[in-house]
């Protein structure tokens, strides 16, 4: 899986590409968890090209959400596909994120 991070003046856009299964989530975790530093502002998780998310991936999303809540920032989940939306729903996480 691939992660592209673009820091803009008002937000950080994180493009997640591929399958975020458990090994992939572990691999990209340090990169994504480092974004906690930016959690004072807006972090956009662009999921247009994310095809799958595992529990480990959800945990990373939650870690970022927690950091944002503590620091007064926000996480926006953008363009999730129906399968991932369904995972959010099945686990009760759908209303925790601002979904665009």
């Amino acid at each position: 899986m691939e992660v592209n991070i673009t820091k803009q003046s008002k937000e950080v856009v994180v493009c997640l590409i591929g399958r975020m299964d458990t090994p992939a989530a572990q691999e990209v975790a340090p990169q994504l968890e480092a974004l906690e530093e930016d959690a004072r502002g807006t972090i956009v998780l662009d999921c247009k090209d994310l095809t799958y998310i595992s529990s480990s991936g959800l945990r990373i999303f939650l870690t970022l959400r927690k950091a944002a809540a503590e620091k007064g920032g926000k996480i926006i989940v953008r363009s999730i596909n129906d399968e991932i939306r369904s995972v959010f729903m099945m686990t009760g996480f759908l209303n925790l994120f601002e979904i665009e």
Partner: protein, 359 residues
């Protein structure tokens, strides 16, 4: 603006210029001290602010009444702090903090609230004259409510500093307005006390288990959540995949329960009792064949609501409404609602003939 100051006033102005950095330092220190104390006491106020008198403003004051002051130390508002409270009761709480933090010059401190005469004009605040440490200049702290602050600002804007100056034809209206604001301040305090009483009564009722006697509102719902009413269902669902449960706020479900027609905490309690099996069936169907080992604590209430909606004929439209309310309207919610309605329709709870005795 050009000022005409005599030598005495010039000297006072010079003294001010010489000590300006010290005034700035002392003002910031007093502000920090006061702010920290109010924060520590959990006293929420509308604003705490401070300012140093500008040189122009001081020169204007000296031009008008410079002979009144022997030296700069006689002018007590070079540093001015102001605390604006939401409630009139809090003015006295802030004043007790001021008493403890600073040395008060009681001779010059004025509680203008006590100066009211029956026919007096205005709506005033508490003005303390204080000093701190070995700083030789006194400063002023004003404490007033938001409404007193509005009055002070607006009446200042009229250009009349006292009732004496106000043309008679306007005096009556200003007095009426002042009275109304005083009354509003008292009412706000009184409403706050009544609400605090209500919350205590609700907590007691919830704790005693008389849930049918407790109307469903924001406060009672919060007290109800303290009992962890959805924990058993969440644990049961989590056990399916040995999942961990992430605690999240269940406040968003308040509106959903209201929408479902729940009127008391007893109604929600019955919903949990009567629909937990159905919610569990639905959750099992959704996550049982996945390896998802994390759920949020809102999954229990979410699936309870879905089961209730489906069992009571709300169908896809009902689930769609719920999803829109929880996560904002979206076209995807239509698809999700359709999918969930289809999944639920085939589950045993939908086909059980006996009716539940829930609402």
């Amino acid at each position: 603006m050009e000022r005409h100051l005599d030598a005495h006033c010039q000297a006072i102005l010079q003294e001010f210029q010489d000590h300006l950095p010290q005034f700035e330092k002392e003002a910031a220190e007093a502000y920090e001290k006061l702010k920290r104390t109010l924060d520590d006491a959990g006293l929420r106020v509308a604003a705490i602010e401070y300012r140093i008198k500008t040189e122009d403003s001081l020169a204007g004051k000296l031009e008008l009444k410079g002979s009144k002051y022997k030296s700069l130390a006689d002018i007590t508002d070079i540093i001015g702090l102001r605390v604006i409270t939401f409630y009139i009761d809090d003015v006295d709480k802030v004043s007790s903090a001021v008493d403890r933090l600073f040395t008060i010059d009681w001779t010059n401190t004025i509680d203008k609230r006590k100066l009211h005469e029956i026919d007096s004009f205005g709506y005033m605040s508490l003005h303390y004259i204080c000093s701190q440490g070995d700083f030789s200049y006194r400063f002023e702290i004003q404490i007033r409510t938001v409404l007193q602050h509005a009055w002070a600002n607006i009446s200042h804007d009229t250009g009349y500093k006292s009732g004496v100056e106000v043309p008679k034809e306007y005096l009556r209206n200003l007095n009426r307005l002042a009275g109304m604001l005083e009354l509003a301040d008292e009412q706000f305090s009184s409403i706050r006390s009544e609400l605090a009483d209500y919350k205590r009564r609700v907590k007691a009722l919830v704790a005693s288990g008389n849930l049918d006697d407790v109307p469903l509102d924001g406060d009672s719902y919060r007290s109800f959540l303290d009992l962890k009413p959805f924990d058993a269902l969440n644990r049961r669902i989590a056990a399916v995949n040995q999942a961990e449960i992430q605690e999240v706020s269940l406040i968003p479900y308040f509106e959903i329960f209201k929408w479902l027609g729940m009127e008391s905490l007893g109604d929600i309690s019955r919903l949990i009792k009567d629909y937990s099996d159905a919610a569990f069936q639905f959750a099992c169907y959704q996550i049982g064949l996945t390896d998802l080992d994390i759920i949020s604590s809102s999954l229990g209430p979410q699936d309870l609501c879905i089961a209730y909606i489906m069992k009571n004929g709300g169908g896809k439209a009902g689930i769609r409404f719920m999803l829109d309310s929880l996560s904002g309207p979206s076209q995807s919610n239509e698809m999700m609602a359709g999918m969930m309605a289809e999944q639920a329709a085939d589950l045993p709870f939908m086909n059980q003939k006996e009716s539940t005795d829930g609402k």
